[in-house]
Amino acid sequence: MTDIALSQPRSGLRRVDVTSDAAGARVRRRYRAEARFRAYGIVALVVTAVFLTVLIADVLTKGLPAFIQHSLVLNVPVPADLVDPQKRNDPVEIRSADYFPVTRDALKAAIPGIEGRTAERTLARVLSTGAADALRDRLVADPNLIGGTVKVPLLLSASADLYLKGVGTSIVSRPVRGLATPSGTSGEITVLTSANDFADELVAIKRALADRAHKLTAEADRLQRFASAAVAARVNELRAEAAELRKRYDNPKIEEELDGRLPSLLVAINGGLVKITKLSDIGITGEVLLPLSSTKPNEWRIVTYTTPEGNRKVGDQETAFLERFKELGAVDRHFNWLFFRAGDSREPELAGIRGALVGTALTLLVTLLLCVPIGVLAAVYLEEFATKNRLTDLIEININNLAAVPSIVFGLLGLAVFLNFFGLPRSAPLVGGLVLGLLVLPTIIIAARAALKAVPPSIKEAALGVGASHQQAVFHHVLPLAMPGIMTGTIIGMAHALGETAPLLMIGMMAFIVDVPKSLTEAATVLPVQIYLWSDLPEVAFQAKTAATIIVLLLFLFVMNGLAIWLRRRFERRW
């Protein structure tokens, strides 16, 4: 009877025929769908990984150079009459003395024989305006050094620093056949050679001229199509310039004048460096950048700075000085501690994130102190004590809504309430913390409620069963068990607050603030706002600082999220 029942199911019911073609097709379709879904997942992961890698690589390549800084280590003679004339060893006086002449003289001593105001000024500009800070600190710490010579690192200016990081020009130096004779050791001189060593350079320059003439003509042709009066003048100008260039190119014998739009050519001879201004095949006229030791005929080299001077921030004169300092071994490359020690500055080489770091710490401290107690207690009340009625439903819905409100709205609220109504100070970490607190509070309440809900009711029942009151059961047992989840939610909320910019702009935390804040009511800025401020500045060096600050901010976020994950793993319980 059972056999019959198995082979012939009751009418209306059918058994799956796993051997049929349709069943086979169904199986294959199922496998295909699954494989397709997996493939979507893998493609999405790969695309994400590529974008993330590109993003991080970009930030790192831009930002990492900002963690390196260059200084000139020089023996600086410190004359007592300049620094501390009365010899009172008064730190205030030592600190306030004018160190510019001291450092300038040290530079001049390192490259002797510089003449002319322009050259001297260029030499002085190699150093940062804050170059003497290290020297000043040394002298204040040990006034006995005054009157002697101090070996101290002098901070280079941002442009010099960038040059040394390789954002300058490539330098090609090649030996030549003949001997050359300079006519002087400084100022404008001529150098004659015994062979036609400049012929190759002359050809190269002619070719560059032809190139430029070609480009100008093309540009003129392009503009002519617009055919308006204003453009017509420019077209004529371009055509005239191109004709001029072509004339120079067509006449191979003529002496060539070099300008900022062509690669710079220099002659290195007798320990000096001459920048060529006029060039013919057997001799040049030029300007001495680094003084020559003598005028005697000697072997020499042609040096080319391949990037035209007009396209560089660091001119030929400064490049020559920096190359000389490099040869002297005076350039010191070190980690940029100043970046973490200094506040903001208009000078890129002196600007640091200390102010923003401290501002961030103070702001987040206020946020934390405000949010954790209020958020956790609110969650405990709503989850465990509040009677469920329309009012608590409304509150719950609105807490969820608040978590989705755009952050700029909280900024406006902070501006209206904290600044205008309560009259709290602008730009202060206190107000920033309050505003971010409003922003983070809903997140923490939601996370804390979820964590409380996740604690099994059996624990609460156990506590109630031995005679604990409701409050005792919640605070002795449920809350401690929910704490890891609450902590995770809090850290993620704080990480959100850490990266928040818009509401802080509204309450004025975007001012240029040099001093590191010391209290909750002093003007301050925070890391993301610092990034925003620096990203707006035109200096190349600030672009690197921006990227470097992004790296620091991301590190902070990674650390905080890592902590959240660790807490979750460490204290996670299974029932």
Binding site: K388, E461, A462, G467
Partner: protein
């Protein structure tokens, strides 16, 4: 073993009226509603002092609900409403003047699934005495914890692991830890809601053995799905069906000569 327990003597004296036959818990006309749904209908029962009272019946018959009425654990369910009168030693436990926390200190509970606090074995037992201020000193508290664990027959097994987490014990040990936790505050009544349903037969045997010892000092009310267990441990049995108490009486009578057809059907395995 009983001598170890603090305040044991006062306890025994109170319950010893009429040689253990006095009524400890009496329920009259108890109706329980979950929202609109009625879970218990007109339950009347007298539970005598000392000894074990077993509630049996098919799933969803209301026996657990009635059990949870006795220590007002149903208060935690917002939609639950209890009507009628339940008295312990003549005192109405739903009296608005009665403090529910003090009631639960008198009526301990052991749950279906072992639910030790995720704290140390010691802390699990010490929690009750601590919140009720039973221990005068640290050594006093240790004495209470050790006595409770010993009474629950667990001390020898965990004496070297008092600082280990309660959740690291085996299922049977956890349930005995929960019993130790319940008796650490010296309740008069212990409610057990299917205490062995998650345990293997060996652990079950240990718990049943323990219950037998506990009857000397406590009134035990147990809900069970196992009729063998009810027959083994209880002196009286009540049969619930569809929210009503169908029949109540001495265990031998219920199992051998039930008055009601439904009881007969249930214990012979025709339904449930």
């Amino acid at each position: 073993m009983v001598m170890d327990m603090p305040s044991q003597s006062t306890f025994s004296a109170r319950g010893a009226v009429a040689g253990g036959k006095a009524t400890k818990i009496s329920a009259r006309g108890v109706n329980v509603y979950y929202g609109e749904k009625q879970a218990l209908k007109e339950v009347n029962v007298e539970i005598p002092d000392k000894g074990v009272m077993a509630f049996i019946g098919p799933s969803g018959c209301g026996k657990s609900t009635f059990l949870r009425c006795i220590n007002r654990m149903n208060d935690t369910i917002a939609s639950c409403r209890v009507a009628g009168r339940i008295e312990i030693e003549g005192q109405d436990i739903y009296d608005s003047k009665l403090d529910v926390v003090q009631l639960r200190a008198r009526v301990g509970m052991v749950f279906q699934k072992p639910n030790p606090f995720p704290k140390s074995v010691f802390e699990n037992v010490a929690y009750g005495p601590r919140i009720h201020g039973l221990a005068k000193s640290k050594t006093d508290l240790e004495g209470i914890v050790i006595a409770s664990l010993r009474y629950a027959g667990l001390f020898e097994e965990v004496k070297d692991r008092l600082q280990d987490s309660g959740t690291s014990l085996s299922g049977g040990q956890q349930q005995r830890l929960c019993i130790a936790r319940a008796i650490a505050v010296q309740p008069e009544i212990i409610l057990m809601d299917e205490p062995c349903s998650a345990l293997d037969p060996i652990a079950t045997a240990k718990i049943e053995e323990l219950m037998e010892e506990l009857t000397e000092s406590y009134t035990i009310v147990i809900v069970t799905h196992s009729m063998q267990q009810a027959a083994r441990v209880s002196q009286r049995t009540a049969f619930f069906h569809l929210g009503s108490l169908v029949e109540e009486g001495p265990t031998e009578v219920i199992f051998n000569k039930p008055q009601d057809k439904r009881t007969q059907d249930y214990i012979t395995g025709r339904f449930g």
